[in-house]
């Protein structure tokens, strides 16, 4: 079944209801469908079924229209993070080989493949002849690029049935119905946005896009949440910590906010306790799962169980996932109907050979049988809610002319998550500042190392591999 079909049912039921609100722009289910129909018709005329279509737009009504239009035509949406540096964007486009890249106006200067560019304004001037394209359950719906351990980004391919399974679970678990008002902050290339985009409209609810500057103005964010009468918000702990500590929630209580869901990184307990005290009427949930599995575990926050010394559990299986633990490594393995179909590489799907996805996360079960998270088995970092592979940063640093070798590790951020730091070995005659200057153009802001040290040689283990623990300890010195 096409994931768009639930939206069409809601559209028939309540065409006048607001689907999306972005600043002063209100768009009803019917108006949204009219835009979706034009995009879908255009793509159907170009025989785009099964093709990947990239979207180069900011989060908002335009991008959401493209996503629904692409899916309605049986094509696969690929949301680009247009804040990424040009080399990373072009890498993703070369790797994904989309049939088209949809944006607004003329092709941006960073785009090498500008013959694939489509201007959304032109498409919206065409006439629609709408029918929903049938898709098989295993048909792909989305490709979300994340940081890759091989040094380059990789595309996680998700099917219609995987998205439907998550949406159904979320709708049931959080009782999302037509009275819900969702706040949406997550960019569409993040998996958290699947909730904002699909669970919402499948339930007949309305989505309110949080204006971007409010993420840096926590008091105004509280006021906005109150004024818009938001009932549900799924976001990352870092923004909630900011809201808890600096959001004037004492003066702006949020009695309408029924549920607050968070995922993406560990929520520091002290800040979580502050937040729960400020939001006495809100149910909070810790959701867990990498992009490859979507949410596979969840825990409803039990206020009485919170202590500053212990992290909260990730809880019990979600989305009908079968969870198991590798007895030797304690790695969490996930077999879920929401699991991804495989990685998208060089323009096609590389299907998975196994149904158990190894998360790379070390877990255990507590006395209540709930799963608890104990960190990574590999080097992956969580920076500002983004998943970052140190190998991708190293790959970029190693290409700089003045650098002979480098190693990237994470240091704990004092408020939430981690930050990358780098140890580098310079080539003779090179100086650090000049050598690393081009990085600003090559790495996204959240991937920029916040500290550099220079070494004569990288420390190695007896087997010749880089000793990351030794490097880590160089940064942990006071």
């Amino acid at each position: 079944m096409n994931i768009v079909s639930h939206f069409l049912q809601q559209c028939a039921k309540s065409p006048e209801k607001w689907a999306f609100v972005e600043a002063e722009q209100y768009i009803s289910y019917q108006q949204f469908q009219a835009r979706v129909a034009k995009i879908a018709t255009y793509l159907q005329q170009q025989s785009a079924q099964g093709c990947c279509i990239a979207i180069a737009l900011e989060r908002g009504i335009n991008a959401a229209s493209c996503i629904y239009g692409i899916l309605s035509a049986g094509a696969i949406y690929l949301p680009l993070d247009i804040k990424n540096p040009a080399p990373r964007l072009n890498f993703i486009i070369n790797d994904a080989q989309p049939k088209y890249i949809i944006g607004l106006g003329t092709a941006p200067h960073w785009l090498k493949a500008n013959e694939k560019w489509l201007d959304l304004t032109d498409i919206l001037h065409t006439t629609a002849d709408f029918h929903l394209s049938d898709v098989s359950a295993s048909a792909l719906a989305a490709i979300l690029y994340t940081s890759g351990s091989t040094g380059t980004p990789k595309g996680v391919a998700l099917s219609h049935s995987a998205l439907l399974n998550f949406c159904h679970w979320a709708q049931q678990t959080f009782h999302i119905d037509a009275t819900a008002r969702l706040a949406s902050l997550t960019p569409f290339h993040f998996d958290l946005s699947i909730f904002d985009l699909f669970t919402s409209l499948a339930a007949g609810a309305s989505v309110y896009f949080i204006p971007a500057p409010l993420t840096l103005a926590p008091s105004r964010l509280s006021t906005w949440l109150s004024d818009q009468q938001i009932t549900v918000w799924y976001t990352v702990p870092s923004i909630l910590s900011f809201l808890a500590l600096k959001g004037s929630l004492h003066d702006t209580p949020l009695p309408k906010l029924k549920q607050l869901l968070f995922a993406g990184e560990v929520f520091p307990s002290a800040q979580l306790i502050t937040l729960t005290n400020l939001l006495p009427q809100t149910e909070l949930y810790n959701l867990y799962g990498p992009t490859e599995t979507n949410v596979c575990c969840y825990w409803r926050i039990e206020r009485a169980q919170l202590t500053t010394t212990q992290n909260i559990p990730i809880g019990k299986p979600a989305c009908q996932a079968n969870l198991s633990i590798n007895p030797e490594t304690q790695e969490l393995l996930v077999n879920s109907p929401s699991n991804f179909s495989g990685y998208w590489q060089a323009g096609k799907l590389h299907a998975l050979q196994t149904s158990d996805y190894p998360t790379g996360d070390k877990v255990s079960r507590n006395a209540q049988g709930e799963y608890c998270y104990h960190g990574r088995l590999d080097r992956m970092l969580k920076c500002s809610g983004y998943r970052v592979e140190p190998a991708e940063i190293e790959h970029n640093i190693n290409q700089l002319t003045g650098i002979a070798a480098c190693a990237v590790v994470g240091i704990k951020d004092k408020t939430s998550g981690q930050r990358p730091v780098a140890a580098v070995v310079l080539k003779p005659g090179a100086d650090l500042a000049t050598s690393i200057k081009p990085l600003r153009q090559q790495l996204a802001a959240y991937m920029q190392p916040c500290q550099f040290i220079t070494l004569a040689n990288l420390p190695v283990l007896s087997n010749g591999k880089t000793d990351y623990q030794a490097i880590q300890s160089l940064f942990n010195k006071p």
């Binding site: 008091s219 500002s384 920029q448 916040c450």
Partner: protein
Amino acid sequence: MKQKIRTFIFDELIFVAEPDSFSDDADLLEAGLDSMGIMRLIMFIEEQFGVTLPDAEIDPDNVKSFNALEQWILGHQK
């Protein structure tokens, strides 16, 4: 004051290849100062300079550059 803030931001929060040539009007948000960074920066400023910066005034306009930060802090120093 500005020098102390510069040192804190460049050592702890964001990395720029040549901090000395980063002007007092250059955009810190563009350079990667994010919500977590702002939170740590405010805690640092309040502790270092004995000021209280009202939550309601935390805003991109007040933290966008070293000059903006200085103006903001001076407005609250007794």
